[in-house]
């Protein structure tokens, strides 16, 4: 019911672009029901909220944003329009959002690459200080995986081989400005183990390169696609990057356990952020609704049970996550 009312409003927003495209019939029959949700305190939100995703549509970020948007919509009684604004590794979207009015009607999906690392590498007019944190939607560790026929049966095998042949093993990473890439660099700088990081574009390209035997391993963001490969056996997980073992891979050691206690940062956190200076009342309205949504069965099902943290992290916790990243990466990447 609530989903339908959301749908109706969505189409009001989308239709102008598609007017006359024979959409009327389709939309007309599925859109029924009325907006039946209560207004939040202080009147926010009283008009549609734009939720900017700094990547192209279709990836985990979009799936996460859409799942939460439809839940927030139901709870707050206003449309959350998910808008994909790819380009410049997310830099364009972040720049736009950072300069938007901090009235709660422009929000974005905040994550490490665009938010913390990109402004360090490139000249951009924003930094992490230009945003207000709201809360965490999802987080995904990075996993080191090899193919089923790989000679490396365990993480120890792999790192021993890497140690013996410096700069010989190739490991695909999801892009140059990702924590995965930086962690491999730190593996070299702090532990003197040198592997070749091969930046690829997204999980699909990485998957292809491992299945085709073009690289030795992947340091890949964990997601449903990776899990289904692990389940069917074509990928073998060797290590996870999170500080603690992942519940869903109880037998896979963390990098910290393997003797790299510093390497616990390649965890993708998808948070909700707004421009700097958002009023506290709006932040707390959103924060509590976000918490409700992170316990919603549909949302959890769409994003994947393991990726929605069982314990909700709000504004303060999210602030700390990015501030920590900033402190950690500054000496490695900072150029100013």
């Amino acid at each position: 019911m609530t989903m339908r009312s959301a749908l109706k409003k969505n189409t009001v927003v989308f239709l102008p672009a598609l007017a006359g495209l024979a959409m009327m019939g389709l939309v007309g029959c599925s859109a029924s029901g009325s907006a039946g949700a209560q207004e939040a305190e202080g009147g926010y939100p009283s008009k549609p909220v734009t939720f900017v995703v700094p990547f192209a549509a279709g990836g985990p970020s979009t799936v996460t944003a859409l799942a939460f948007a439809s839940c927030l919509e139901a709870g707050l009684g206003q449309t959350f329009v998910v808008e994909n604004q790819p380009g410049g590794s997310g830099g364009l979207a972040m720049q736009d959002v950072s300069s938007a009015k901090p009235d709660g009607y422009t929000l974005t999906l905040g994550t490490n690459g665009p938010l913390v690392m990109n402004p360090m590498i490139n000249e951009l007019n924003y930094s992490i200080e230009d945003f207000t944190s709201v809360g965490v939607m999802a987080q995904m560790p990075t996993v080191l995986v090899v193919g089923e026929d790989s000679p490396y049966e365990s993480a120890d095998d792999f790192f021993a081989a890497a140690d013996k042949n410096p700069g010989k093993l190739s490991v695909a990473v999801p892009g140059a400005t990702t924590s995965a890439a930086i962690e491999l660099q730190r593996l070299y700088e702090e532990y003197d183990i040198e592997v070749i990081a091969v930046p690829a574009v997204g999980n699909a390209e990485m998957t292809t390169s491992l299945l085709g035997g073009h690289v030795d391993a992947l340091f890949i963001t964990d997601h449903q696609d990776v899990q289904s490969r692990i389940d069917e056996g074509s990928f073998v997980p060797l290590a996870v990057s999170s500080p603690k073992r992942a519940d869903w891979y109880p037998d896979v050691p963390t990098l910290a356990e393997l003797g790299f206690p510093e390497l616990v940062n390649a965890v993708s956190v998808f948070g909700v952020m707004g421009p700097k200076g958002m009023p506290d009342s709006i932040v707390s309205t959103l924060e509590s609704e976000l918490k409700t949504c992170s316990e919603d069965a549909t949302v959890i099902d769409q994003i994947g049970e393991m990726f929605v943290p069982a314990e909700f992290s709000g504004a303060a916790a999210l602030d700390k996550v990015f501030a920590d990243m900033q402190r950690l990466y500054e000496p490695i990447l900072g150029q100013e």
Binding site: A57, N84, G88, A176, T177, P199, V201, T208
Partner: protein, 506 residues
């Protein structure tokens, strides 16, 4: 046979009234957005993604797939009538398609495209039904080194396009490659040639460049001409392809179907490479290659067939391996994830209704498209009767809206306008934008794969020899280059002896 049983299941799913409706809605939207320049399947599917939530998973994929292959039909129309390629794969169609329009043969050009698209699409679906698991292996076997070779081959083919001189084509291709380096370095992430403009960090958008150079450039150029001149060029002779047209294009359609099907499986540039390869093949096979670029119907039929076949076989890596091979398929992948389904090798067993239902819906969708498109040709051609001033204004407006819709960034609209002026200058000076645009598409894939290869091989070029696909392609290129070099030398020598003989005779 097993495949027939499965296909039976698929058709029982696809023939459910709701699913039939969604195939129909999908192909209609697809055709419409294909026709509107600038608006493409990518932006449309992104807009519709939230709506697919509420739909049944199979219906959602059936509709989105319909939009995708439907847009391949529609994209041809503006390429042929207005010289505005709707998507990358249609760039090649502008070469001979627009020339045919100028000769009053827009009808046969569109007719043969629709028929070729139908045949190509159907051949690819049959291939998808029976050969999919086999071909899926091809998709993963192609690694960075092979990509380098395939992209070099693509660039090689680019220069054989059109009628312009090879030198001019090479110049344009070089500019296209240069333009493709603007933006973030694919390996280090640092900015290149962005001059502090944040919007350039993401590089130029292909659609903005293509729409500018082709679309706006052509519009500016057509506004220059007098009313009288326009009236002559838009005279329509006949609507239906003649028997001779069919005879001329039947081979091109057959070869295009096969080429498109096989090449479409490649992630990334599959669509463009397949239409390029088909064009080059037809030109090479032709008794009189000089007809190409001047309205040869094979130059329209082959590439159009190939791009439709490839848009269908592009589903193979997605449905069999769970690997989306282009942006549109990545969004289909996202739509399935939202439904709680992870496409992957187990999809056929876990959800045969989706797998076979979608395949069966493609048979139905293709039939719908050909039935829809053929009567529509007559109507689309009437577009040419509209006064250029009005048509150009309207087209420009749609282009601007479409380009904005891709990245939601007003900067792209400026790119269109600026490249539009360049496009106009290029027409005046006899340069063709085709090689530039195609090189621009191939460039980033070439660069990324090359640098990935160099990383993997530790800087050794040996990787291009040890990789079987790359070794084969580079070998074939070397042989073909040597051959053409030697035969030219011989021809020059023969000409010299001939002239000497004739001088002696005097």
């Amino acid at each position: 046979m097993d495949a027939f049983n499965n296909l039976g299941l698929g058709f029982s799913v696809a023939f459910e009234p709701m699913n039939l409706l969604f195939v129909f809605v999908g192909v209609i939207i697809g055709t419409a957005i294909g026709v509107l320049p600038g608006l493409g399947p990518t932006a449309t599917i992104a807009l519709l993604l939230p709506i697919t939530y509420t739909m049944d998973a199979t219906s959602a994929v059936i509709m989105l797939a319909g939009i995708y292959y439907g847009s391949m039909y529609g994209g041809t129309i503006t390429s042929v009538l207005l010289r505005i390629p709707g998507e990358a794969a249609s760039v090649v169609t502008t070469f001979d398609g627009y020339q045919m329009t100028k000769q009053g043969r827009a009808g046969p050009a569109l007719g043969i495209s629709a028929i070729g698209s139908f045949i190509g699409g159907t051949v690819a679906i049959i291939g998808l039904t029976f050969l999919a698991p086999l071909l899926a292996q091809v998709a993963v076997a192609v690694g960075p080194a092979s990509y380098v070779a395939i992209m070099v081959l693509g660039l090689f083919l680019v220069t054989s396009l059109g009628t312009g001189s090879t030198m001019k084509s090479l110049c344009m291709a070089a500019i296209g490659l240069l333009l493709s380096t603007v933006g973030q370095d694919p390996i280090t992430g640092t900015a290149r040639f962005t001059f502090g403009i944040p919007s350039l960090l993401g590089g130029f958008d292909f659609v903005a460049i293509a729409m500018g150079l082709f679309g706006v450039g052509q519009l500016l150029h057509s506004l220059e001409r007098t009313e009288k001149a326009q009236a002559i060029t838009t005279k329509i002779k006949n609507i239906w392809p003649s028997r001779k047209d069919f005879r001329d294009s039947s081979g091109a359609i057959a070869r295009g179907s096969l080429l498109g099907f096989v090449i479409g499986v490649l992630p990334g540039g599959g669509g463009v490479i397949s239409s390029l390869a088909s064009y080059a093949l037809e030109k090479r096979r032709a008794k009189d290659p000089s007809r190409f670029g001047k309205g040869a119907i094979e130059g329209v039929a082959g590439p159009e067939t190939a791009n439709n076949a490839s848009s269908t076989s592009a589903f193979i890596p997605l449905l069999i391996l769970g690997i989306p091979s282009n942006v549109v398929l990545a969004m289909l992948y996202g739509a399935l994830l939202l439904q709680g389904i992870t496409p992957g090798p187990s999809l056929i067993e876990d959800r045969p209704d989706i797998f076979w239902g979608v395949i069966a819906s493609m048979y139905i969708g293709n039939v719908m498209l050909v039935i829809l498109n053929i009567p529509l040709i007559g109507i689309f051609i009437q577009m040419l009767r509209v006064r250029t001033g009005i048509l150009a204004t309207f087209a420009l407006m749609v282009v601007m809206v479409g380009v904005y819709s891709i990245n939601n960034n007003p900067f792209d609209m400026w790119v269109v306008l600026i490249f539009g002026v360049f496009g106009w200058i290029m027409i005046k000076t006899g340069f063709d934008p085709g090689p530039l645009v195609l090189a621009f598409i191939l460039g980033p894939i070439l660069e990324r794969s090359f640098r990935q290869s160099m990383l993997i091989s530790d800087g050794s070029f040996g990787i291009f020899v040890t990789d079987p696909i790359s070794a084969t392609i580079f070998g074939a290129l070397a042989v073909s280059l040597t051959y053409s070099f030697i035969s030219r030398r011989r021809r020059v020598k023969a000409a010299q002896t001939l002239s000497r003989v004739s001088v002696d005779a005097k």
